[in-house]
Structures are given as C-alpha cells and as structure tokens.
C-alpha cells in the first residue's frame, strides 16, 4: 500500500478458510420414523423392543423412505387379482398412525371425481415399493380436513414424475391455506382442539368467536400431559444405527 511510511506493508495473513463440516450437519437432521417411539403407558418395554427388532429386520430387506404428512407417495402392493399381480396407487399422505409393526399411513387421491383414501401398513409384506414423488411438509400433522376441502387440493396426477430433490436439504414447508366446501363438514375444523393452521376459514367472525368457546387454555399448562421423548429417541436412534450397520 502507498500509505505506509517507507517500510514494506505489514503482512496481512490470508483469511482463514471457513470449514463447513458436512458430517456434523448431516447428523443434526437425523429423521426417526414416528412409529419407533413407544407411546406412554403401562405396557412392558420388552414388547416394543421385540417389535423394533422385527421392524429393523424388515427395513434391512425393504427400503422405507423418510416421509412426512403432506408428501405425495406412490405405493405398489401385491394383488393376486390384477393382471400384473401388482397395484400402484399415488396419493398425498394425510395421516401417519399406529406404533410398532402396525404403523399405517393413509394416502388420499381423487380419481375420476371420486375421492379415494387407502390406509397402508408400512411393514406389511404385501407392499413392494414406496416412492416419494413430491417432498413437502404442510402446516399440520393431520390433513384429514382435505375430505372437506375442494377436490382440487386432493387431486394428484397418477403418472406424476418424481420431483428431483437435493440430498441433505431442508424439507420445504408448504404454507398453503386450503379452501373448504360449504359446511357441514365431517368435523368442526374451526374448533381450537384440532388446531388447524392450513385452512383458509371463510366463516363469519361471530362463528369463529363462537368456536373459541371450546378452547381449553389450561391444557397448555397441564405439565403431566407432556411426554418428553428426547432421551427415548436418543436411545432408539443409537439402537437403530447400530443394527442397520450390521
């Protein structure tokens, strides 16, 4: 630099390289399928341990991908009455239920103006393939309100191509607010007990206020209802990683 007084300019060391440790970032975003977490209750943990062993055995043979509610999946099951002996169904996952080997997920689609929901068991040997076509999470954990929404929100092309996705990226959350058919609905989705954020309620103000009458604000402070699964999840994750590496 010109501004130094006769002496050579002070040595500026080069900027230190920023090391992005991809391995640690990968480990932070580990997904544990919800059916592995045992529910609260008085059952013997041995039952869940044995079930987990069977689940891991099945996962070694058949790949169950990571998916959440709101993903669009294509499932091929074995069917003795079909000409190809297999059946393929594409739909949006609206609910994941059950724990252990009986874990299920419900796929919904509208085919020829008829809404169809099929409940599949994740660990059933009849399932031949599960492909994730579109990855996106929604604002809620349970999309049962799609039954009362306009059919356009549940229609998905049966021959849809899988949307390409980069590995190790955040799963995008679709903040879509769904429009509903006129009331009556199968459940009163405006009530606070369902806590639905993904519906664009076009009800009048007084109806929304009347629905708030059923809110239970004390439930948030009821400490005994909380189920802290962090330690259980850690143990199960360790167990899974050990078993799957074998």
């Amino acid at each position: 630099r010109v501004s130094s007084d006769g002496k050579p300019p002070k040595f500026q060391p080069p900027p230190k390289p920023v090391i992005i440790d991809r391995k640690t970032q990968k480990e932070e975003r580990r997904f544990l399928s919800p059916e592995f977490i045992p529910p609260r209750g008085r059952t013997d943990p041995l039952k869940y341990y044995i079930e987990r062993k069977d689940m891991i055995q099945r996962r070694k043979v058949f790949n169950i991908p990571e998916f959440y509610v709101g993903h669009v999946l294509a499932v091929t099951t074995a069917d003795p009455y079909a000409s190809d002996k297999s059946k393929r169904f594409v739909g949006i996952c609206i609910q994941r239920g059950g724990k252990g080997l009986g874990a299920t997920f419900v796929l919904r689609n509208v085919i020829e103006d008829q809404g169809v929901e099929i409940c599949y068991e994740l660990y059933s040997p009849r399932i031949q393939a599960i492909e994730v076509l579109k990855l996106e999470k929604r604002l809620d954990e349970n999309l049962m309100y799609l039954r009362d929404a306009l059919p356009e929100y549940s229609t998905f092309d049966v021959n849809m191509k899988p949307v390409p996705r980069m590995e190790h990226e955040e799963i995008p959350v679709n903040k879509l607010q769904v429009r509903m058919k006129p009331k009556p609905w199968s459940k009163r989705w405006e009530r606070p007990k369902y806590n639905i954020k993904g519906i664009k309620f076009e009800l009048p103000e007084h109806k929304m206020k009347a629905a708030q009458k059923w809110s239970q604000p004390w439930l948030e402070f009821d400490m005994l209802r909380e189920y802290d699964t962090s330690k259980i999840e850690e143990k199960i994750r360790k167990e899974l990683s050990e078993e799957l590496e074998k």
Partner: protein, 163 residues
C-alpha cells in the same frame, strides 16, 4: 346389568376427577402447589396431595432450567398464584434440588380427618425443609437376631484380644 361395577372401572385413566370441572381441578391443584411452595409442608386430603405431587415435582424440574427460560417462567407464572413465590422457586428451591434427579417431595399418611367426612389425610412436604422432621429414624432394637449376633461377635473378638 350390574352398573355399579362398570362405573368403577376406569381402564388406565391416570388423572383423578377433582373439583367441578377439569379447569377447577387444575385451579385446586394450583392453590395446593402455591401453598406447598410457601409453607413447604401442608396437610390435605390424600387424593389431592397425590395428584399435586406430580405437578410440584415437574414445576421444580422446570425451575431447574433457570429463570431465563421463557417457558419455565410462564409455567411458574401460571402455577404460583402468589407472585413473590416465583422468586423463592427459582432462587431457593431450584438450587436446593439441583443435585437431586427427582423425588423432591415426601408424602406421608396421617390419621383421618376429625370432621364428619373422616377423609384420608396426608402431609406432603418438600425435602430439605427447615421444619422439624416428621419421622425420626429409629435404630433397630438390641433384641433383633442380627444385633444379637453382632453383639456376640464383638464379645468373642474382645475375649480373643484379651487372651
């Protein structure tokens, strides 16, 4: 149709029904928790003390997180109706129970209440409280088998040492 037996089966329900409604049950337990934090030893019907125990211990677990934690402060604000006790909870009780992983309360049954209802009463107290102890641990009497054997062993050892 034996309705009475069927009415008594609850099939795994853990929460007792107290008060007039679920809101009233929580308010009742909240008053008891506040009283426990204030006086550190209270005498109530056994059912209420048993329900309250879980909430008191969870409240102390929340307090252990520290008062900077937003959720801990909201819980303490809801559960303690007298706001000067929030300071006591975070500054006195949380450090007192920091080394212990759980079991901060002691529940002991007392003789039934004197009134007409003869209710089963209990005393619930926080461990480490400054009040005089409720139960004095008694040493085993000298006449038990183990103590007699130990006494004999000691006498034999003395005789052997003297000889």
């Amino acid at each position: 149709m034996r309705l009475s037996v069927a009415a008594a089966i609850s099939h795994g329900r853990v929460y007792r029904r107290l008060g007039l409604s679920p809101r009233s049950r929580l308010d009742l337990l909240r008053n008891l928790v506040t009283a426990l934090v204030r006086h550190e030893r209270i005498e109530t019907p056994w059912a209420r003390a048993d329900e309250m125990r879980g909430y008191a211990e969870r409240l102390i677990d929340y307090a252990k997180r520290g008062d900077k934690d937003e959720r801990a402060m909201r819980m303490a604000d809801f559960w303690l109706t007298e706001k000067d006790l929030i300071h006591k909870l975070f500054k006195v009780l949380a450090p007192r129970f920091q080394p212990h992983p759980g079991g901060y309360t002691r529940l002991l049954q007392i003789p039934n209440r004197d009134g007409l209802d003869r209710a089963k009463m209990a005393v619930i107290e926080l461990k480490g409280n400054p009040l005089p102890p409720l139960v004095r641990p008694r040493r085993d009497s000298d006449k038990t088998l183990l103590n007699q054997l130990l006494k004999g062993y000691r006498q034999d050892a003395q005789r052997a040492a003297a000889a």
